[in-house]
Symmetry: C2
Subunit: 341 residues, 2 copies
């Protein structure tokens, strides 16, 4: 069990998730170093009773290239976790290890679903209305129109599965809301989503500001733009946090005020803590795999497990399958320009 | 004089800039409705003495398409301001009007410098080390490698002119720091900047988080990614601001703390206020044109004027010319892979 902290964070994360998932009949298969896992599990018999351990000596490290992880990763803890999904032993795999390796191993063992080509990584983004689902945030550098429409189908089904919103709204990330703005592939995807008759509540182009304002539930973009946007937002939040700390320690009155407003500041910190929205599924595979941030704490790891359980126990896969069928029909008979179905 | 507020904001902005530019022998040519401008100017004889007015009845509105502004914009206040730069009557034009129209009219009247193709829009981004120069943030949707290198040359000279940093550092925005990451055109631009012998302190690829951490002074990206990043950062800042307000009004203790920490909160607000970094020059033209945000207040408009004066009174144009010459030599004899000059 990897990530930056190992079982000392992931096992308390499992314990927290187990409490939150009570009544949903979830058990845990822990893949990794048996001795280290058992040492952590020893603290709670109740949790240990919900867990099985699959020992592995082999660990994929954070700087192993994906190709090497695929060739030599067999029998590693990451491999075993994904293989358990393939064999039907587990309904989902959660890993806080190397993202590229997790993607490569997942694709190799589980294969892509339907006509999908590569997994997309989803980010859950705190917004004025709760959480915005953004994809892709890093798996696919360049995306044609069909790929973007695939993301819309996957992202919409994901948002419904995890946030219990019956009919999530979807927008396409662009640099303006007019029809003629942006890249060719964006305008093509826009036409398919608007006129293709897919059962998706598509609201058109959205801009960078709209991600955290929560204008739509799901924001679709290519992996390059999505990754830059995600990291830019992280950087902005970190910058503002550092300016806030500086402001509140800059004088006696500021310090006093911060002391008195302590509860409010704690609540604010929790609301902006990436751990509260941790858990980025790799969508498009024949099976559920969720990436947890390597630096997440136990609360963050527990959230990633909840996301995995929500997706695995939803009708996510069936919905994607049905909508991909519909998309194939649309692409075989593309809508004429201006035609609205 | 346009923008969302007109002369009631721009004239106080001019007055503020005049005070800050005292001793630099700057005068102002105010283009717009004479009666409205004169009414505002009447409040201060000292400022009025520094100003000339060029009357115009015609106004380009915020939703006029650029092509229409070019065809029918002659004699409008925006046109007159740019024309004054062309005629040598003014050293720079500052406008808070329609960006697309300003770009089209500037390109038509001033023409592009050297081998440049389209203006790039620069954003000054608050960072842990002061301010990061980011371009392009919206003028050029797709960019090839040469265009990105042009941006590096222009952005570096701009940062030196405005921030008095003798040798600004430059980075190329990507989704990872390894050489093989990102688009083809990014890797090509990376090779030219690294090995081409340009007199630029190039530090390689940077990521979205690095913009506000201030790892480099100048961040280069295409206009699509830059625009999404800028707006995402704005959205994130706005979201955090709204969460902060909610936190500090959520209970008696929080309110009391916020009241006591009032000075610190004001300072923080000022530091994060977009007005303090307002002023986005259109780089690459034969002349200085600066776009002020339409919603900027008088402080913001004054900042845009300062940026214009700094660029116009620097060696900016000569430096770009010399570096473009050097780039032409590099492109005629591109560096071999692996060769480092």
């Amino acid at each position: 069990m990897g990530g930056d902290h190992g079982p000392s964070v992931t096992i308390p994360g499992v314990a927290r998730a187990a409490r939150l998932l009570e009544g949903r009949n979830v058990r845990f298969l822990l893949c990794g170093d048996e001795a280290r896992i058992a040492a952590q599990l020893g603290r709670s018999k109740r949790i240990a009773d919900l867990c099985d351990i699959r020992h592995s000596d082999l660990v994929i490290s954070s700087d192993d290239p994906p190709a090497q992880a695929m060739r030599r990763g067999k029998g590693s803890s990451m491999w075993n976790a994904v293989e358990a999904v393939k064999n039907g032993e587990a309904i989902a795999a959660v890993s806080s290890g190397n993202t590229g390796a997790l993607m490569a191993i997942s694709k190799l063992l589980l294969r892509m679903a339907a006509d999908l080509d590569r997994p997309a990584i989803v980010a859950s983004w705190p917004s004025m209305h709760g959480s915005t689902t953004v994809l892709d945030v890093g798996a696919n550098v360049g995306c044609d129109a069909e790929r973007l429409v695939d993301f819309a189908i996957m992202g919409e089904a994901f948002h419904r599965a995890v946030h219990a919103v019956p009919r999530p709204t979807v927008g396409l990330l662009n640099i303006g809301s007019e029809d003629q703005k942006g890249h060719e592939e964006l305008r093509e995807a826009h036409a398919i989503l608007r006129d293709g008759g897919l059962p998706i509540d598509y609201r058109g182009f959205v801009e960078g500001t709209d991600i955290s304002s929560g204008v739509v539930d799901v924001v679709i973009t290519d992996g390059f733009t999505g990754n830059v946007a995600l990291k830019t937002a992280e950087g902005t939040a970190r910058f503002i946090g550092s300016e806030m700390r500086a402001a509140f320690t800059s004088g006696l009155m500021s310090k006093l005020g911060a002391l008195i407003a302590n509860q409010a500041l704690k609540k604010l910190k929790h609301r902006l803590d990436p751990n509260t929205v941790n858990g980025g599924p790799l969508l498009g595979l024949n099976g559920v795999v969720v990436k947890s941030h390597g630096g997440a704490n136990d609360e963050g790891f527990a959230n990633a497990i909840l996301v995995a359980a929500d997706v695995a126990q939803s009708r996510f896969a069936d919905e994607i399958h049905a909508n991909m069928q519909q998309l194939m029909t649309v692409l075989a008979h593309p809508p004429a320009a201006g035609e609205v179905s």
